[in-house]
Amino acid sequence: MAGVWIIAEQRDGEFRKITFEVASAAKKVADGLGTEVTALVLGSGMEGACAELGKYGVAKVLYADGDAFAAYTTDAYTNACGALIKDGGPDVLLMGASMQGKDLGGRLAARLDTGIAVDCTALAVEDGKLKATRPMYAGKVYADIFINGSPQIASLRPNVFDIVETGGEAAVESVSAEAGEIKAVVAEVQAAEEGKVDLTEATVIVSGGRGMKEADNFKLLEELAGKLNAAVGASRSAVDAGWRSHTDQVGQTGKVVTPNLYIACGISGAIQHLAGMGSSKVIVAINKDADAPIHTKADYCVVADLFDVVPELTKEV
């Protein structure tokens, strides 16, 4: 049962969007290799949900049920996936470069004694091998990587790979898997604020920098974000000033984001900031300084005072 395998990601029994992105990308790789996609799903009471993955190109689901699989832990996933993968011997293993995938990937690669390409933005098949493209040096270069180990593991940057519905139902096979000893236990889960979209998952981001002048002014961005169902991000200057929380920082030492639309308000466009948002599909800069570097990266440049333009924009969208 070789082929292309993916590790599905679920929360509270529902597949996360990244799972569909990874499945769709895996389908293309499998087509290139002349093989099929198998999805590993670990969950609790999720068997009925598994066939749905067929819609995104998954031919077969291996479903392991257990209380220990209800929510992700490093140990349960490494133990269970590690054993199933050793057993099945896939050629390629794909997962999301989400918080879960980033936590799991390196550990699983070490367990299976193989290599991993993290946070990939493109995949191809060349001479029967996976070619993974990933940004390095904060997007200053892109590397094409081959993995000379088995399986060839790659994790995929969220929001980059298109979800492709090819139709169909996946065949679901229940398998038994051991969660093993859980060394790092999830003692508590605190939900984020109601309605707050996570930066790495948002399709639209409105970000503010030092030009926002004070914490209170971020209300303007929140109003705009509310209308666009967007997340609010920040430059390091805004975070260091204490206006926004650390988790909102976009950039080389913050989050790397790839929304469809990134609106930078009062952000100059320092190289470390561009590193975090430079591969957004469409970039808007609202900055009163026509010479600010952000304007050289933006698709749409608004050279004006953000305090005048942002409230008007909120009315328009």
């Binding site: 070490a110 990587i145 996570d198 030492t253 440049c301």
Partner: protein, 256 residues
């Protein structure tokens, strides 16, 4: 408390990255090297724990001779001693290979905590820490913004998409530091003077009995894809600018 902090030396975040003649590596000629910014949070956290609870902080870095500078910076911040795994070819190595090498160096030290930065800002992989945890059979607490260490246990706050998790593990454990964990100190002048006299041991991979084995093969490095040149949104008034922008986003870019 016996704490190890793994440190990577990386190009300064301002550095211009040029692709070398071989097309597979970067031209390191003009680069200014610094300690990976996330590692600073690891060093700081280790120093705070040891100040409170006693113990010793050992920093470990692998790579060519220049890596000593990053180790000296950590010693100047207050770490007690350093180990340099010296290997001229190691920069750009497969993180799994690096983890194997670090495992050989760290295992005999029997640390209670091994800190890493959550990722290095050069290859942006974040793989070495969890691979090392696996190789040593230790729990991993990744990307943490808050940490409590007491009674042989670590309790860590880990923000994930839309949630904040509190993780708990018995020591020894591998912990990776995220911004927000603390405010790293700067090395003071007396610190820098003292650092010169602190023990810094140099080992080769051969000394450690580690063999380099890379699974990852970089076929080629390319510059980032070009972006089409942008346009300046026209308008006489803020309202007109906003209306024109909204129109472009809806009708041309089709993103809202």
């Amino acid at each position: 408390m016996n704490i190890v902090v793994c440190i990577k030396q990386v190009p300064d975040t301002e550095a211009v990255i040029k692709i070398a003649g071989d097309g597979k590596s970067i031209d390191t000629g003009d680069i200014k090297w610094v300690m990976n910014p996330y590692d600073e949070f690891g060093v700081e956290e280790a120093l705070r724990i040891v100040k409170d609870q006693g113990g010793e902080v050992t920093v470990i870095g692998a790579g060519p001779a220049r890596v000593v500078e990053a180790l000296r910076t950590a010693l100047a911040m207050g770490a007690d001693k350093a180990i340099h795994i010296q290997d001229d070819d190691l920069y750009g190595a497969d993180p799994i290979a690096v983890a194997k090498m670090l495992a050989k160096a760290i295992e005999p030290l029997n640390p209670d905590i091994i800190f890493f930065g959550q990722r290095a800002v050069d290859d942006d992989s974040g793989v070495v820490s969890s691979a090392l945890a696996e190789l040593l059979g230790l729990p991993q607490l990744s990307v943490v913004t808050k940490l409590e260490v007491a009674d042989g246990k670590a309790k860590a706050v880990r923000p994930v998409e839309g949630q904040t998790l509190v993780l708990e593990a018995a020591l020894p454990a591998v912990i990776t530091a995220q911004k927000g964990l603390n405010e790293p100190r700067y090395a003071s002048l007396p610190g820098i003077m003292k650092a010169k006299k602190k023990p810094l041991e140099v080992k080769t991979p051969a000394d450690l009995g580690a063999e380099r084995s890379d699974f990852i093969e970089i076929a080629v490095l390319n510059p980032p894809p070009d972006r089409a040149p942008g346009k300046t949104v026209e308008g006489e008034s803020p309202a007109e600018l906003a209306a024109n922008l909204a129109k472009l986003l809806k009708e041309e870019a089709k993103v809202i």
